[in-house]
Symmetry: C2
Subunit: 470 residues, 2 copies
């Protein structure tokens, strides 16, 4: 297989090739390292490329497999992670100048789990400074570009991960999602992004933005790949007291393609308002595709969703205040002004407002739980607009000019506040060739259900097979 073909194959396909010893982990890793060196100048998706270390890991994996010790579908697979996952002795910047020389003393639990599953860590990916949702993925290494149009943003804050996956610069990635930071770049770059249930995946050793909203999850090119990555990282971790002991099911077993009789809820408020017309059309077409595949569609009511932006911002900024209190005193000038403004605001939010936001959050949780008693999943667009241009701050939706930064996270924030699992899966392209994402939101700990639905949809379509030319 040619390198240009191999690099775009799915994690699942590469795993089969590696297991059959038709491709070696060394070959696969070399392809990725070479491509990052050659093409990432245009994308800036990597902050740190771990060429030599990755090759050493790949040779060890190769030897293990040759020795008959095949560990499973992640063995020998080149992956990369957002640069806020602690990697022992490897610089972990969180996209910031402030942590530009931070060398963690230990690995994040999810890093350990991926390494134990045999994955090869190729590098650390670009992200918004401290994962704060500024419009551009501004980090200490500069903005990351969208491989579908390098003058456009990949979305954030896990933009490097989405860009790298779309461009064939890794086979799987880990992102984090506080207001949509996995799903937004997944939608804008045409890949799959899964935010699991709060408590499903450990956050030990993940630089925090907001402890009650932060989620860790996989970003991949296909739904099957997301299931494989989640399988490796999910489950209780004694070092993260917020993780739950609920049994981790077999996620790939759920991917049957059969969704006959599945019940889908279409929110009658909020989620289909203020949408770019092409996105609305694509999502409605996707719903029809799901119906043809056997799903039943009904309307559900989620009127509290409209408070997600205000509540999410108050909670996120308040929770970040403690984390950044010291750096604001000692490293004030080393923040980007727009990111710093948020953390300074967080210092000043009143307790009574934080409390009110938490109460609204309880109502949102009750409302979403009630809707998901009637249906198996909610179906919505992931992002109301396609990828904006770098530096652009407003965009027109119909006659209306809207702020891009708040628009990008408008439809993803509710699932952070409720903690319910949500996946974004490619569901089309604009006439200008920009990807569109479909969001499925499920019941707590029912990741298997939304993976199953997303997989069935993916089987009916070819969007995930397109590759950007850049």
């Amino acid at each position: 297989m040619e390198a240009s073909e191999l690099c775009h194959t799915s994690l699942r396909s590469l795993a089969t090739l590696i297991q059959r010893q038709e491709v070696s982990p060394v070959e696969a890793t070399q392809v990725v390292v070479d491509r990052v060196e050659k093409f990432d100048v245009q994308l800036n998706s990597y902050i740190t490329l771990l060429g030599d270390q990755a090759m050493a890991q790949a040779r060890a994996a190769e030897q293990e497999i040759l020795d008959g010790h095949y560990r499973g579908p992640l063995h020998g697979i080149p992956i990369a992670v957002k640069d806020l996952f602690y990697t022992k002795g490897i610089r972990t910047t969180a996209g910031s100048k402030i942590l530009s020389d931070f060398l963690p003393a230990y690995n994040a639990t999810v890093i350990t789990r991926l390494r134990d599953a045999g994955a090869i860590l190729v590098g650390k990916l670009n992200m918004h400074e401290f994962a704060r949702g500024a419009t551009n993925a501004s980090s200490l290494v500069g903005a990351c570009n969208n491989p579908w149009d390098t003058l456009r943003i990949p979305g954030g804050s896990s933009g490097g991960a989405a860009a790298a996956l779309a461009a064939g610069l890794c086979y799987g990635a880990l992102g984090s999602d506080t207001g949509g930071s996995i799903r937004i770049p997944a939608a804008l770059c045409g890949i799959v992004g899964l935010k699991p249930t709060y408590g499903r995946v450990s956050r030990h050793g993940v630089f925090p933005l907001s402890w009650s909203l932060d989620h860790v999850g996989p970003m991949t090119r296909t739904v099957t790949d997301a299931a494989l990555m989640l399988q490796a990282i999910a489950g209780h971790d004694r070092q993260d007291p917020t993780t739950r002991t609920a049994v981790v099911p077999d996620y790939t077993a759920a991917l049957t393609g059969d969704i006959e009789g599945a019940r889908l809820g279409i929110p009658q408020e909020f989620y289909f308002e203020h949408l770019d017309a092409e996105i609305g059309d694509s999502v409605r077409a996707a719903i029809q595709t799901l119906e043809r595949a056997g799903a039943h569609v009904e309307e559900v009511s989620l009127p509290f969703s409209k408070y997600a932006a205000a509540a999410g911002r108050i909670i996120s900024l308040t929770e970040s205040a403690e984390i950044h209190e010291k750096f604001l005193q000692t490293r004030f000038a080393d923040y980007s002004p727009d990111v710093r403004a948020g953390f300074v605001a967080g210092q000043l939010i009143l307790g009574k407002h934080y409390m009110k936001a938490q109460r609204v959050r309880s109502l949102m949780r009750q409302e979403m739980a009630a809707a998901l008693k009637r249906v198996d999943a909610l179906v919505t667009p992931t992002v109301p607009i396609p990828a904006p241009r770098l530096g652009q701050t407003t965009v027109n939706i119909g006659q209306e000019s809207v702020d891009i930064m708040s628009t990008l996270s408008r439809l993803t924030r509710p699932a952070n506040l409720t903690g319910f699992p949500a996946i974004s899966v490619p569901c089309g392209f604009t006439q200008g060739g920009l990807p569109i994402g479909l969001q499925l939101i499920g019941r707590p700990f029912a990741e298997a259900t939304i993976l199953q639905l997303a997989y069935a949809y993916e089987q009916e379509t070819t969007w995930h097979q397109r590759q950007p030319m850049f």
Copy 2:
């Protein structure tokens, strides 16, 4: 039985007399109403005396019992409640000028439950304005006095309840406890006060001070009476989503007097520091009494308890901010200045500090749960000092001058933050004749255990038999 004797009998004893039809509810209620009219001038323990309504209820109870419909041990018993429990059509002031003409449209759930059990509501009891812990029980009707020395405070904020019980002006009462407001006046007035587990007793229709710290519980003259009152009010309430569905056990069945082999934890930090010498002596003697009754005593470590004052105050004031935001705008002048100062401060507390306080609270909860894995209950003094004089703001403990207001709640606050059940039971008197309280803190929903221990202690002593002369 003489009225002067009948008024001081226990709820349990009166219940037996009523059941045997040796005393009628009408007679018992008339005794209470007469005594309140005659003696409460000195105590000011009632805000509202419901003479006619109570007598009507008593006559109805009498008739039911004569008709053979005896409802159980609260049937026909004259009780009174702190004036923050909503009583339908009956003025409910929360001790404030602001609510001086507030007529609730419904009864608090606990009022309904007591009435359903057949109790007679004789009146609404004096309390600190809005249950805020100012030194004196300053309310719209003025301060309440301690029946053991009417120049001294009864403690608060449920001071009226404790004073009325000690003076024989009711047989049982309901209080509320946000930082010790049931247990502090119980200790200072020589009665029993039980703060149940958070979630055990409904707070629907109880004017709130701080939703995550407020607890409702019984105040009585004996431990058995507390068990009987708790039995009537405990359990899930659909109108209070914070109540739990855990089964309500038979609390009086636990009162065997046998505590052979019970394990008691004595905190090695905080709880026995800065104590009035006579209180320390009485509590240590009480521990020896419990040991003689068969309990094993060991030291436990609770170093986080020292943060209870700061965390409790931040959480309480922040949570009260929303409740009082509007009144501060519209009725500013109708607050007492010291109470208002707290609510104004609550408006200004930062979200990051509220959050930090909640995190300290989690650590306190973990620490207390760990200690209570090793032992069945913690034993401590309830209040570090005996009842101070009205208007007094500081007191000497040894060579040290301490602030009375913060000292009074120092040892009770931890159980509000953790939500664990705690009871205060009389354990002696100072040489000056002021009551001393022993606090027992138990595991969540293990009210039966601390009632059992308190009962066994009470059986070994005669403190609860003393009556104040006033």
